[in-house]
């Protein structure tokens, strides 16, 4: 078949996959809620009303209130803009650096690889907590610190997995061909190796993303994440779970938003990843 036809078909495929479409719809919903939501629903997310703590949903509070009597819906809408980028960044940074380390380590091999992998083992054994406290000690408590701490915690797993997928590429014919053309190491890594392990990476990232948001929230009770009175969904969820028997909506609402986002990202990622795989794996001569 002709090349243009193939490409036209691939482009169509990109959105034709039901996975991708469901993902886009979910993320669209989340985007509308977090971007348009706060504009339409003009209620302060920080105004307390101490006598109305954990109020059930009502006309005054569509989703009820939290412990301090703040409007859950208002907080939910405002939290998205913080949660999503923070979760993405936290996992993104860890994944990027971890993958680079893994890719370089696996590709270079030998002593370097051995040493790096032992360092990764060591990193893996440090509790996220300790790392987080150290990061905060150096950078002060903020979302940024939390993002960095989560990144560091995520880094070793990415390094390991990416190393695993790079190993077989080391002796691949196209790498040898590039070597013959005197291709420098950085080009080998960035132009040849990385794009070829991108689909594995996408799957990993997609799985990690949801976790990022949640792990970030776990750090906030150490004073390491979002500083009050700001909230992200993770924090709302953590707080809500404490009162899950008395005011279940306070926990369920952020949980649902989180789930929608993570599902959206996952569908989109799986859709894209699957396409990348089909692209290259299917039509090899047997």
């Amino acid at each position: 078949m002709s090349a243009t036809a193939t490409r036209a078909r691939s482009r169509r495929n990109l959105f034709a996959s039901p996975m991708t479409r469901v993902g886009l719809v979910l993320l669209g919903i989340v985007a509308v809620i977090t971007i348009v939501g706060p504009l339409v629903y003009d209620v302060s997310p920080t105004r307390t009303n101490a006598m109305d703590g954990y109020a059930p949903p009502s006309a005054a509070y569509p989703l009820g209130t939290d412990q301090l009597g703040r409007d859950t819906l208002a907080r939910l809408l405002h939290a998205g803009l913080l949660s999503i980028p923070a979760g993405l960044l936290a996992v993104g940074i860890g994944a990027v650096i971890g993958s680079l380390i893994g890719v370089a380590s696996g590709f270079v091999g030998g002593f370097v690889d051995n040493t790096i992998m032992r360092v990764v083992d060591v990193l893996l054994s440090f509790p996220t907590l300790l790392t987080a406290i150290v990061v905060v000690a150096i950078l002060g408590p903020s979302v940024t610190s939390a993002i960095i701490a989560v990144s560091i915690a995520a880094l070793p797993s990415y390094a390991r997995v990416m190393r695993g997928s790079v190993l077989p590429l080391r002796s691949a014919a196209f790498i040898q061909a590039a070597r013959v053309s005197n291709t420098p190491l950085y080009r080998l890594l960035f132009v040849h190796v990385l794009p070829n392990v991108a689909d594995v990476l996408i799957v990993l990232l997609v799985i990690g993303m949801g976790n990022g948001i949640v792990v970030l929230s776990a750090l906030s009770f150490l004073g390491i994440g979002v500083q009050p009175p700001q909230a992200d969904w993770g924090v709302m969820l953590t707080e809500g779970v404490d009162a899950i028997y008395t005011a279940p909506v306070a926990a369920l609402a952020p949980a649902v938003m989180l789930m929608l986002t993570v599902l959206g990202i996952n569908f989109l990622g799986e859709g894209l990843g699957a396409r990348l795989r089909v692209d290259t794996a299917r039509r090899r001569p047997r």
């Binding site: 039901p18 996975m19 469901v22 051995n114 032992r118 360092v119 083992d121 060591v122 893996l124 054994s125 440090f126 509790p127 996220t128 907590l129 300790l130 790392t131 406290i133 150290v134 000690a137 150096i138 070793p156 797993s157 390991r160 997995v161 695993g164 799957v203 799985i207 949801g210 976790n211 949640v214 929230s217 776990a218 993770g234 969820l237 953590t238 779970v241 899950i244 028997y245 926990a251 949980a255 989180l258 789930m259 993570v262 599902l263 996952n266 569908f267 799986e270 699957a274 047997r286």
Partner: protein, 310 residues
């Protein structure tokens, strides 16, 4: 022969790694603000008494002296004495480690018990039903993305409070292991199921499967004897990472279920700046993780003899 040499080499590599853990932990826990005496002191301890305590705990010695004293101790097999509980750190670890291992193993076991059938069955049906992929992604995503504290709480409220099948918390007998193991294992199963499915799919597409089908070997036997072992390596490598992570990280689940594992102890030790305890506990976890990776490497070689050649 080469196994022994390989293992010996890896064990040797472990020594500098362990030293690195020791040094980094030592440095990190001292780098961070807050010192043990201030934590012990709270708001009400006479500043003078606090100063005396600081001297008694040896915290006024220069750092290199502290480090080499500590190193010497460790080399003699003594991990020091906790500032807070006044117990040898080895005792603390010895008490907690078995429970941590038990919980981790149970969690991983639950993960496998769920993920293997899910992953395998969905892989086998992959091509027959288009919706399988969508449902599978949705289901596994939900498993992975449910925060452990939410999951734990829901499990407790349903299985321990509403229908009282399992105990709410504690560490009495196997019934009390079930809920924490589920809380750990279910999210793990989400990730695991994906890996299982992808690698089973991958193996199913390999030419040898066609060969064996052409010989007339029944599907079930083929899956059990040929497909699964071949698909096991990525699953194993994920397992080793997850196992390591759970060893020190089952914190929230331990807290919800009052499970006396290492996670909470490490958490407390760090929170209270109990320096000898932090150092000792992290060292032991690190050694365990290094050991797990070593064992996994050996397992790879047993599973896949080709690895030994390259």
């Amino acid at each position: 022969m080469s196994f022994v040499r390989f293992a010996a080499r890896r064990v040797l590599v472990t020594v500098p790694a362990a030293l690195a853990v020791l040094l980094i932990t030592f440095a990190m826990i001292r780098l961070v603000p807050g010192d043990p005496v201030q934590v012990i002191a709270g708001t009400n301890l006479d500043p003078q008494v606090a100063e005396e305590l600081r001297e008694q705990l040896g915290l006024n010695d220069p750092l290199p002296v502290q480090f080499f004293d500590y190193l010497g101790q460790v080399l003699r097999g003594d991990l020091g004495t906790s500032f807070l509980t006044h117990q040898p750190v080895t005792t603390i670890v010895a008490e907690r480690l078995p429970l941590t291992l038990l919980l981790t193993a149970a969690g991983v076991g639950v993960g496998l018990m769920l993920s293997l059938p899910i992953g395998i069955i969905t892989a086998l049906r992959h091509s027959r039903r288009r919706s399988t992929g969508l449902t599978f992604t949705a289901a596994t995503t939900m498993l992975v993305a449910t925060p452990d504290f939410l999951l734990g709480t829901v499990l407790v409220s349903v299985l321990a409070v509403y229908v009282q099948i399992f105990p709410v918390a504690g560490a009495d007998g196997w019934t009390s292991l079930v809920l924490p193991a589920l809380a750990l294992g279910i999210p793990l199963a989400g990730i695991q199921a994906r890996v299982v499915r992808t690698s089973v799919l991958d193996v199913l597409n390999r030419p040898f499967v066609r060969t064996l089908r052409a010989v007339g070997i029944p599907q079930r036997r083929l899956v059990a004897r040929n497909v699964l072992p071949n698909a096991s390596i990525p699953v194993l490598s994920l397992l080793s990472v997850e196992f390591g992570r759970l060893l020190a990280g089952a914190l929230i689940v331990e807290n919800i279920f009052s499970w006396p594992g290492l996670g909470t102890v490490i958490f407390d030790s760090i929170g209270r700046r109990d320096l000898p305890a932090v150092q000792g506990e992290i060292l032991v976890v690190a050694l365990l993780i290094l050991a797990i990776n070593l064992v996994m490497d050996i397992v790879y070689r047993i599973v896949d003899p080709r690895i030994a050649l390259s």
